[in-house]
């Protein structure tokens, strides 16, 4: 009988397991949600630099990450997924703040919550969508 793979002590989570979980769309969605909660809490608690840096990561890189990962098969490039994650995060944040500005509610914490909700909402709606079958590029 083959030995069981070693994954760390019972009840612990290894770095490898975390990274593998982040490699899936649901895993990334959970991470983004958790990061958003921590960010909002840090901002609400008045941790200026820490909260600001967390918000920078969240609003300029993470909130669009699940949607960008869904597009992975579409663009077929890890580096492009990262770039699209940044672009979509900034885009979702821009749309979120526009909504808040209309209602004169552009508060720091509210922006983090709204942009995170946008990103997670879209990703949860689209995560089950199937990409059309790939076809090779035509020969030149």
């Amino acid at each position: 009988m083959a030995p069981e793979p070693v994954t760390g002590r019972p009840g612990t989570v290894t770095v490898g397991e975390v990274l593998r979980a982040l490699g899936t769309v649901p895993g990334m969605m959970r991470f983004v949600a958790g990061f958003g909660v921590v960010t909002a809490a840090a901002l609400a608690a008045g941790f200026g630099n820490v909260g600001g840096l967390l918000a920078l990561v969240q609003l300029c890189g993470l909130v669009g990450a699940p949607l960008a990962m869904i597009l992975d098969r579409h663009v077929r490039s890890a580096s492009v997924v990262v770039a699209l994650s940044i672009a979509l995060s900034m885009a979702l944040s821009a749309l979120a703040v526009q909504l808040l500005i209309w209602f004169s509610l552009a508060y720091r914490v509210l922006l983090v919550i709204t942009a995170t909700a946008y990103g997670l909402g879209l990703a949860s709606l689209l995560v089950g969508e199937r990409e059309p079958d790939d076809r090779a590029l035509p020969e030149r």
């Binding site: 663009v75 699209l84 672009a87 900034m90 885009a91 526009q98 500005i101 689209l126 969508e129 590029l137």
Partner: protein, 614 residues
């Protein structure tokens, strides 16, 4: 809910981790690290006082240039390893030059360069204070998406952390854009494995416009690239979808024109999000997005037509509704700028009408650099359209995509900066075409050719990209002057400055009580004459009406106090761009300080902050 991430085929060992396998690879990697460290430390040691009309180039210390030389050698060695089969090392080459060209020079001064960065930060703080944005305070609030997106992150930061973020921004956004350029390159030449890193390198080396600072423009450009990548990212499906201009267009791309794309719902959603974000973030980016989408539409991408229609309608509605308070008061000015190519050219030229000798040289370098790219793109694109060079033809219509932004120049002069924006949006496609031409060089000669190219291009790039440093950098004196100004200004204070090259934070703008009046000092000779008789220098009017405005305005702040702020950056603008005598504002400041009723609040290194109570 299930994960849809597809299983990847086993990743080739070479793309897992970019560790070298040969001596040249290891040596190249080591020298690349040395180059990056030397470049950054060298740039940090730059003395701001040594910056002159040629920009930063003569102020950079020998250590920075050591970094450039070592970087060129590292490029050659890495290219050698790449040619030998270690393709994964190819990405190190653009990374090294991204740091040397776009990050290191940002570290040269005490504060983040380009004072407009601080104005944008002021807008963010204003939204943070008011929880909304008032378009009547500034037209840019009609497109607040960019500012608001950074509300939660930048507003709570201390100034020190903020300065670090601002310095990292240009390299970050340029690097992210370069990765999208590489993706387009791979799509354009799927059989050329080196085209990605090489296109990214060309893009990094040729990005001299400086539009990568913390601004809506940099993000609008990033959105544009993202949209093109997603539109062109999906698989193609055979189907006749050529437009009526097919016979002409088919000469610029080998495939795709006779096919339409299969597209998934997530990609549609991503495109819609990106398009609407562009509409609410920047007034100019939607023009270029529409132009690019129209070109792709002509090549049979039906989704491009739909998106273009959506962006166009969305933009018109947005301008009519959100920006109405602004354009309704600026209608005459906008009508003058609309649709006149000559106006665009005139406005672009007039910006440097009487420059200093040094600045004239910088302007010539910029002109030649820009022309070289435009003409090169035209020549390469045309050559690829011929039968003889048809083997170099891309699968995407790169040459038409590079040319279409010129259409935007007919629409608006954009304060004389439209030509620069056109260049910016032309560059990604041009970079891919140039990279393909570079790949025609025999493999043996490629390493030394690359090293010679980057080394030769360095002074040209530094002159073009950082040639305006004398008035675009933010010195400690600039910063302190504004700090003192705001510390002493009170509601009702009129602030007078010669031009906008100051790190205004826009404090006090929420009720327009501290609204700076740029260009007033150009006519301030008359104001000074009216105040105390003869000014020490004869100042030209320059067509500005600031003085008249100040005199005739009935606004209450005129009767309280006036604060005049002159700084070295403003003087540098007058000297190098307007052709005025050097240190003119310093002389005027010294004279003003002698006048009764004038209190010197701050004076250091050519910076003056003077309080006047007539």
């Amino acid at each position: 809910m299930t994960a849809t991430r597809p299983r990847r085929s086993p990743v080739p060992a070479e793309s897992r981790w970019p560790l070298p396998e040969t001596a040249s690879g290891w040596l190249g990697l080591g020298l690349a690290l040395v180059a990056v460290v030397a470049g950054c430390i060298g740039a940090r040691l730059t003395q701001s006082a040594d910056v002159d009309g040629y920009g930063i180039i003569r102020a950079l210390p020998p250590l920075y240039w050591t970094g450039i030389v070592v970087g060129a050698v590292a490029t050659s060695l890495l290219a050698l390893a790449v040619v030998a089969g270690q393709r994964q090392l190819g990405w190190l080459i653009p990374a090294v030059w991204l740091v040397l060209f776009h990050l290191a020079p940002q570290l040269a001064h005490a504060h983040a360069r380009f004072s407009i960065v601080y104005i944008h930060m002021g807008f963010i703080r204003l939204i943070d204070t008011q929880h909304t944005g008032d378009v009547l305070v500034d037209a840019r609030f009609a497109w607040p998406g960019f500012f608001g997106a950074f509300l939660s992150s930048l507003a709570p930061m201390s100034q020190g952390v903020l300065e670090i973020v601002m310095r990292l921004w240009p390299a970050t956004i340029t690097g992210a854009s370069a990765s999208l350029v590489a993706a387009l390159a791979r799509r354009s030449y799927p059989t050329q494995p080196l085209i990605g890193p090489l296109s990214a390198l060309v893009f990094i080396l040729a990005s001299w416009t400086g539009q990568d600072y913390f601004s809506p423009q940099s993000v609008g450009f990033f959105f544009y690239l993202s949209i093109i990548v997603v539109v062109e990212g999906g698989p193609l499906r055979a189907r006749g979808a050529w437009s009526s201009v097919a016979p002409v267009l088919s000469r610029f791309a080998t495939a795709g024109g006779d096919r339409t794309e299969a597209r998934s719902v997530p990609s549609y959603v991503a495109l819609i999000v990106l398009c609407f974000a562009a509409v609410v973030s920047h007034p100019l980016a939607p023009f270029f997005i529409c132009a690019g989408l129209a070109m792709l539409g002509l090549y049979g991408r039906r989704v491009a037509w739909r998106l273009m229609l959506m962006v166009a309608v969305g933009y018109v509605i947005w301008v009519l509704v959100a920006a109405e308070p602004w354009w309704s008061t600026q209608l005459d000015d906008l009508k003058q700028q609309f649709g006149s190519l000559s106006n665009v050219a005139t406005a672009s030229v007039e910006r440097g009408a009487v420059p200093s000798v040094a600045h004239a040289f910088v302007l010539r370098i910029r002109t030649f650099f820009g022309l070289a790219v435009f003409v090169g793109t035209l020549v390469v694109g045309s050559a690829m359209a011929t039968k003889r060079f048809s083997h170099l033809r891309p699968t995407l219509p790169l040459a038409p995509l590079a040319g279409i932004p010129v259409v935007a120049a007919a629409v608006q002069s954009y304060g004389g900066e439209m030509i620069i924006r056109v260049f910016l949006f032309t560059l990604p496609m041009a970079s891919i075409l140039f990279a393909r031409v570079l790949l025609t060089i025999p493999r043996r000669a490629l390493p030394i050719s690359l090293a010679a190219s980057v080394a030769g291009l360095t002074p040209i790039f530094l002159l073009a990209r950082f040639g305006n440093e004398a008035f675009e950098m933010t010195t400690e004196a600039d910063w302190q002057a504004v700090e003192v100004l705001y510390a002493n200004a009170e509601p009702g204070t009129l602030i007078i400055a010669d031009n906008s090259f100051l790190p205004w934070g826009d404090r006090g703008r929420e009720n327009q009580s501290l609204e700076p009046r740029y260009s007033v000092a150009q006519t301030s000779a008359r104001w000074l004459q009216g105040l105390r008789g003869q000014a020490p220098l004869e100042l030209n009017d320059g067509g500005h009406d600031g003085f008249v405005e100040v005199e005739t305005s009935q606004e209450p702040y005129l009767s309280d106090q006036v604060i005049v702020v002159f700084t070295p950056s403003q003087s540098a603008w007058l000297e190098h761009v307007e052709g005025e005598p050097a240190r003119k504002l310093d002389v005027v400041g010294a004279w003003m300080a002698q006048q009764p009723g004038v209190t010197v609040l701050y004076q250091n290194s050519g910076a003056w902050v003077l309080q006047v109570k007539p």
